[in-house]
């Protein structure tokens, strides 16, 4: 039944397209209300996307957004809300920076060691929330928010010179990492360098898709998200699934800061980007938890980030991009639910019509079924 496949594809695209259109219109209204030209800022930002140096910035930024959003999406797929991605990736990057500054192995060992450090740190931090949920019934939302706060304090503590910190001027850093742990970028000439770990983001996306759609574990995870009771009856242990999903989510989250750490800053300092975990939530929502959708959403977000500073030079506030991000998230939530409901109903009607018309799979018997409700 290709017909239903096509329809599903249409529905998948309809949600984000409607949401984006609504968000653009609403942003234009905001601009209009503040007495500004409602079209020009968008024109300026679109223009920015054409410059190759901006493109490199967008791709680099998007790679981190992408990894963070994948981490969020894993949780979403089974109705877990891991708000703690923010703390998990910062702590993961911090630990990787510390290990990278103190261990000096050859590159082929050093890089995996750093990745592993980040993965384990992220998983450990999310795992605390998982254990609390499974053993004590603590909502993972509350636990991960608290863990974010704790992570921030922990990082400040580790920046102390008598712990792992190295003061450089006014900046707190963890000291420069050994060069064997640096990952060379992909040179783009004048435009700059694309982080080497962009490749990791792509691989994670592919791995995410394969795991969810082609493995038994992925099926169990999706089933748990779709109906906890049906999954339990099918033989999924709900507690183990919650714990595994949170560990996995945290493991991926731990990697989100590494593209910039290993590709550019080589230290965890006060300048290290924050808030990527929170942005990942919106991006995962917009991308409908699908690896391809999230990729588009991450690029869109990165574009809004990297193209908006230009607005300041033309008398607009670059914060319009932030407003727009907020509006996108809002409209996404509304439009997806509406499209989902509509799609379900529409399919029920169509199936009814097909059956009444006698299009029954594998049977030439066209008698209608009569049953009560």
């Amino acid at each position: 039944m290709k017909k239903f496949d096509k329809e599903r594809a249409l529905l998948t695209v309809a949600g984000p397209v409607i949401a984006l259109a609504v968000a653009f219109v609403l942003s234009a209204i905001v601009l209009l209300a503040s007495g500004k030209n409602p079209v020009e800022p968008f024109a300026l930002m679109f223009e920015q996307a054409g410059f190759s140096d901006i493109q490199v910035l967008i791709i680099n930024q998007a790679s981190m957004y992408y990894i963070a959003a994948l981490a969020v999406a894993i949780g979403f797929r089974m109705n877990l809300f891991n708000i703690g991605v923010d703390g998990q990736y910062q702590l993961g990057a911090m630990m990787a920076a510390v290990v990278g500054a103190h261990a000096a192995l050859p590159a082929f060992l050093q890089v995996p060691l750093l990745l592993l450090t980040a993965v384990l740190t992220g998983a450990f931090w999310a795992g605390i929330a998982g254990v609390l949920k499974v053993t004590r019934g603590v909502s993972e939302v509350v636990a991960t928010i608290m863990l974010n706060a704790i992570a921030t304090s922990l990082i400040v503590y580790m920046w102390k010179p008598d712990v792992f910190g190295v003061k450089i001027g006014n900046n707190n850093t963890t000291g420069e990492m050994h060069e064997s742990g640096w990952i060379p970028g992909i040179g783009m000439g004048e435009a700059g360098e694309i982080y080497g770990l962009v490749v990791l983001a792509v691989l994670l996306g592919i791995g995410y898709w394969i795991t969810l759609n082609r493995t038994r574990f992925g099926f169990d995870l999706r089933a748990s998200g779709a109906s906890e009771s049906a999954a339990a009856a099918s033989g999924v242990s709900p507690k183990r699934m919650v714990l595994t999903a949170l560990l996995l989510s945290g493991a991926i989250a731990g990697l989100a800061g590494l593209p910039i750490l290993l590709g550019d800053t080589h230290t965890y300092s006060l300048n290290f980007p924050t808030g990527i975990g929170f942005l990942g939530i919106g991006i995962a929502l917009l991308g409908r938890n699908s690896p391809v959708g999230i990729a588009f959403a991450a690029l869109l977000w990165a574009w809004l980030d990297k193209a908006s500073p230009e607005l300041d030079f033309h008398g607009y506030d670059k914060e319009i991009a932030v407003i727009m991000q907020g509006l996108i998230v809002l409209s996404v939530v509304v439009s997806y639910e509406a499209v989902r409901e509509w799609g379900l109903r529409r399919q029920q009607r169509k199936v009814g019509a097909e059956l009444t018309a006698g299009h029954v799979l594998g049977a030439n018997n066209t008698t209608k079924e009569v049953a009560g409700r």
């Binding site: 089933a223 109906s227 049906a230 099918s234 379900l344 009814g352 049953a371 009560g372």
Partner: protein, 525 residues
């Protein structure tokens, strides 16, 4: 004078015609019974009359005046009131508060409302005390509050949806007295039921509904239960009789002294002991909520028993998780297919994988095998006559009967040794019902052991090789399905009889006419 007249009502749902050309006339001041099997379309019809559904065709006339309802509020204004099967009362409010809730404008919320409630209660002999908390009331008293709630809103026509399903026999008698009071006061009552004995004892007129359409009317004085039963099930008369016994002496599932307690310490299951052999169907009869759900949960592994032993063939499986039980050959047709049997928004072929994700053809090692699963879904759809245009549609878009056939097909495909079948034909049309019975019977011939739980006593008696009665978490009685009647079984289900049930030979209830053909006296006992 007609209170309600429905003419030519037709209602279609996706893939299903729930009501087709229905005609129903209720005279003022009468009790009118609407009878039909589970799934015949009674509830849909009443939802239409109460404004919860809009008919696709046909007309509704109240007191001779044509009306169109777009919500229950419209129906209430016209004097139609509904007493739902599942009560809609707030436990932590008093009776008075429950009654005035949503109708504060009628008589206020204070003394005037209390006076009105007392007056109604006395007039119709309902015995309702306005200041008691609803949580302190028993089932029958709650039902009277529901009736009073409807009267308080000025209803002149009351719809009672299976009101006796939750009552014990004495309470049924009391309810019927109340209904007679209402009738004497000139109110009309529409009484929905599938219990013929009750219907014959209380109704003035009877309309029979079968497979979504009205097939006839009857007057109790001129009708025998047998005639009514035949009207109800039609000429097909599908009987769930199993021909010859296939029971062997090889035990498949053995349960010993199973006990499961609620958090408060009350035993939900107490000292449950039974054995099911190869080729045997063990039927469990009981009023819902007496431990059936817990028993099924304990057997499939959704709940761990507090004590007791479960054995599958020679292996003790008490500590096994659900997945291992299913892999080792326990099939499961759940009571609530939406909660436990399906992923409603997933396509059919993913639903075919559900519960058997580790088994062939769904998986190869740790990998899923979508191609093979889809292939096999197509086979199930054809073999089990699941009416669907394809296997990529969501489970939600199928009708209940077709969803059930998919589940049965899925479970049977994996050749279970032991099948837990909880209400396997609930909400399923007559044709699909017969097909599901056939599949179960066939598997039984090949040595399947089945635990059958059903609210349909005819199904239980017809299919089972052995019958046990569950009451308050205990197996209190057993019976021989070859001789027992639904009425006798029904008595034991209320806890009134224990031990081995012997059949009293009475000429008008031969065992083969088990289709609810009991006499009213039997039923009301």
């Amino acid at each position: 004078m007609t209170a309600v007249e429905l003419a030519g009502i037709t209602k279609r749902f996706p893939g299903v015609v729930a009501n087709h050309d229905i005609h129903l006339t209720v005279r003022k001041g009468t009790v009118h019974a609407l009878v039909g099997e589970n799934g015949a379309g009674k509830s849909t019809l009443m939802k239409i009359l109460y404004g919860m559904q809009k008919p696709d065709e046909g007309t509704i006339a109240i007191h001779g005046e044509q009306v169109s309802f777009s919500s229950p509020a419209d129906a209430i204004v016209r004097g139609i009131g509904m007493v739902h099967q599942h009560f809609m009362l707030a436990d932590n409010l008093t009776v008075l508060e429950n009654v005035v809730l949503g109708s504060e404008k009628l008589y206020g919320i204070g003394a005037k409302a209390r006076r009105k409630i007392k007056e109604l209660s006395e007039r119709y002999g309902l015995g309702v005390r306005p200041d008691v908390l609803v949580e302190e009331l028993g089932v029958a008293a709650r039902q009277r509050v529901e009736i009073l709630k409807v009267l308080y809103r000025g209803a002149t026509t009351l719809i009672l949806d299976e009101p006796t399903a939750v009552l014990v026999p004495q309470e049924v008698d009391a309810l019927f007295d109340n209904l007679r009071e209402l009738r004497a006061e000139g109110l009309s009552v529409i009484f929905i039921s599938h219990k013929l004995g009750e219907v014959l004892s209380v109704a003035d007129e009877i309309t029979v509904i079968r497979r979504g359409t009205t097939v006839g009317t009857a007057v109790p004085a001129e009708t025998t239960p047998r005639q009514l039963a035949e009207l109800m099930v039609g000429s097909e008369l599908p009987t769930p009789q199993t021909a010859e016994s296939t029971v062997t002496d090889r035990a498949v599932i053995t349960v010993e002294a199973l006990r499961l307690a609620a958090p408060g310490g009350k035993a939900l299951l107490d000292d449950i002991t039974f054995t099911i052999h190869e080729g045997e169907i063990l039927g469990i009869a009981g009023v819902e909520g007496n431990g059936q759900t817990e028993l099924v949960d304990a057997l499939i592994g959704l709940r761990q028993a507090d004590s007791g032993v479960i054995r599958l063939a020679d292996e003790e499986i008490t500590a096994w998780p659900t997945r291992k039980r299913r892999e080792q050959g326990i099939g499961y047709i759940p009571e609530d297919r939406h909660r436990h049997g399906l992923l409603l928004e997933a396509p059919l072929w993913e639903n075919r994988i559900l519960g058997h994700v580790t088994e062939k053809p769904n998986a190869k090692g740790i990998w899923l095998d979508p191609k093979a699963a889809q292939e096999d879904t197509r086979r199930i759809v054809e073999t089990y006559d699941v009416r669907t245009p394809g296997i990529d549609v969501t489970a939600a878009s199928l009708s209940g009967g077709n969803q059930q056939k998919l589940i049965v097909g899925r479970e049977m495909t994996h050749k279970p040794r032991f099948l837990i079948a909880a209400h396997p034909t609930r909400g399923v049309d007559v044709g699909a019902q017969a097909a599901i019975w056939d599949h179960i019977r066939e598997a039984r011939r090949e040595g399947l052991a089945v635990l059958l739980i059903s609210a349909d006593l005819d199904e239980l008696i017809g299919l089972s090789d052995t019958l046990r009665v569950i009451y308050d978490g205990k197996l209190v009685a057993d019976a021989d399905p070859a001789t027992i009647t639904p009425e006798e079984l029904g008595t034991a289900m209320t806890g009134a009889a224990e031990g081995h049930l012997e059949h009293d030979e009475t000429p008008e209830t031969p065992a083969d006419l088990s289709k609810s053909a009991g006499s009213p006296e039997d039923e009301a006992r």
